[in-house]
Amino acid sequence: MERDELKGFEHRCIQEEPPYCQAACPLKVDARAFCAAMAQERFNEARKILSRAMPLSDILGRICDHPCQDACILAQKGGAISIGKLERACIEQSKDPGLPLRLPSKEMSVAVYGGGLSSLTCAFELAKKGYEVSVVFSGEIPGGRLLSLPEQLLPKEVLATAWTNLERMGARRSSKEDPTSGGPQEGNATYIGLDDPEWSHVIDANDVNLIAYETPKRGIFAGGCSRNEKFSAVWESTDGKRAANSIDRYLQGISLTSGREKEFSLETKLYTPLYNVKPLPPREDPVEEAKRCIQCECRYCVRECAFLEKYKGYPKIYARQIYNNLSIVKGSHSANKMINSCSLCGLCEVLCPNDFSMATLCRFAREQMVTRNIMPPSVHELALLDMEHANSPRSAGVRTGEKTTRALFFPGCQLVGVMPDQTEEVVKHLDEIYEGKTGLLLGCCGAPAWWAGRRDKLDEVLKKIKNILESLGNPTLILACSSCNEVFKTFMPNVSRTSLWQVLLEKGLPKTKANTKTLALHDPCTTRHEPEWRESVRKILQIMGQPYEELAFRGQTTRCCGYGGLQFMADQDLAREVVSRRLRESQNDFLAYCAMCRESLSGSGKAVVHLLEILFPSPKKEITGFSKRQQNRESFRARLIGPCDLPPESWDNLTISVSENVREKLEKRHILDSDIKQTLWSASSSGRYLISPDDTRLASLRIGNVTFWVEYRLEDKSFMIVNAWSHRMIMELSS
């Protein structure tokens, strides 16, 4: 990944954008962090947070006109947080944080005119930066227009203390009379605070440039202007702070404005979803009020995705980790598992106000890992071998229509594997309604290769399919699986496609009875952008009179079943969590219309039925598993297209018996019946195995990249499998 591409990805994630309150504050006070500290009664910490962005917080904290509060989005949920009130409470209940550190003297001086808040702030900021500051004001204590505020709101003592502190920071009182007389002097500058009535006439406020705070006279800066003809304490303070920054730049001889966009901006791109925020009315007690703050952030995608949540960050951080993972030359690629665990379902992209797609990022990263030969070899191997099996002559093949082939039914590898009986019924039904003009194409579309980052293998599969379609005069593909649809849509957009559901709806449904129970309808993630697929299914259910429940996360925002993107290969625990979260969304049993959704969601405590099981009922089957699916594909092919030309394998006829417990272990360990039979065949032929005192045997065989171990007992003409395990390391006796 190039740096620019990474920046593009990072830029889309808005999690690090400032909260609405902070963006609206011209001083950029982090009101979110401030509220968090107040809610925990950490008043001194809250004061520090205020003072970090707010000079002279002892003054402004009492009188701030809090634009932050107007920006608070809780106005839509019970009422904005009274941040102004909280600031005042904080000032009253916390210790003064003391004088800030002062930089070493710069030996340059600035004359500050006026005793208003803008002048005091400007003097404070410049003194901090090491300038010699002289302040010109009348009367005992400074304050300008602040002196007219009621004592209760702003005690005079606070202003007097502020001046004492400024003096302790090196500021001196001066009595220069005309700030505008004389030309600019080297190492000198002047600030005029228009918020002090005594000096407001010296410069016309309209002549002040409110970005750099320059006046037409070089070296003279001004601020403290009213906004919309109103005085605003926070803007007076901001003027002083920003003008001090300009004066510093002026005296250092650098651009007054460049790189200050964030300082001037009052915008944020943050998006905080409020759909699960409970409205609470404002509270009198400041701590209780601060507790109402929802600590605005986005994390919309993270909250709704077990994968994004698992890694405890958010897409911007993940993009950086993935970039680092691809850039690392030596050391551990610690983000491999994360990259391979995304289900590529696309929910984050739909939820994100900026369309950040983890799927695009992870797909890209997986392809890069394959190209650079750093993809862990074990992670997708079984899925790729399974795809190879589905496309081998034992499982794949084509049968033309009896008369012509106007349409070609492509059930996909998983439907045939999971529900061969229903698939056969569909074929018969299509033959009937199309009057012998539909063909049948068995095989896998290549989706597992796409998900595994293996574009080479995907291209190979697609090329074969393309050739078959061309040889049949490009018939319309009837698809039962929305993942196949996604592959064809993306890589063969010109191929004519339709969904099995659309065909059944248009050409006629089989006669069947609806399930009496209400079922929660689960849209597969690959129908997220296929409204017609989803609509056809709903229409079928309505025609059949099948009661169904719409889940909150449906249609465009549906959730993955844990099979997508080969998530279950990279992280079985995560895939299980994804399933259980999905099932918790409803009390009802589930209805799926993708074979893998049905398979993945099954076996976790809820009945999951596939639409074809209602349309073409047959005895209910639970999860099939890898081995059974492969056997189903082979026998389906033999039944509907005819036996393949390859001779049977010598171990095909071995009979094995596997208990339910052992079967579960085999599935989890990705050990297929064909691996077991081959290992047993080899042990029987060679006579090499281990034997225990109770006559249990242990055989081993290297098949491809894996060494399999099978523990078994001999039974009458069959092998009872006791246990099996595997490893990828190769062992050799050391000489």
């Binding site: 395990w725 490893h727 990828r728 050391s734």
Partner: protein, 71 residues
Amino acid sequence: MSKETDINFHEETNWRCSCGGELTLHKVAAHYLGNRFEIELPACSQCGFILVPESLAVGKMLEVEKILEDK
């Protein structure tokens, strides 16, 4: 060998080899992705059949395979 890739195995085993030999601890080389480790495993003293016990294969060995795959 670093601690994270230490996959030695010293459990007692009841297995004996179909050739009639006893299983005793042998020095064995484990290879994966261009890496080589010397470890001790039970192997037949006559024909050299090496046993990789389940606990090792699905435990430490799997862990080390994953570490090496991420290197």
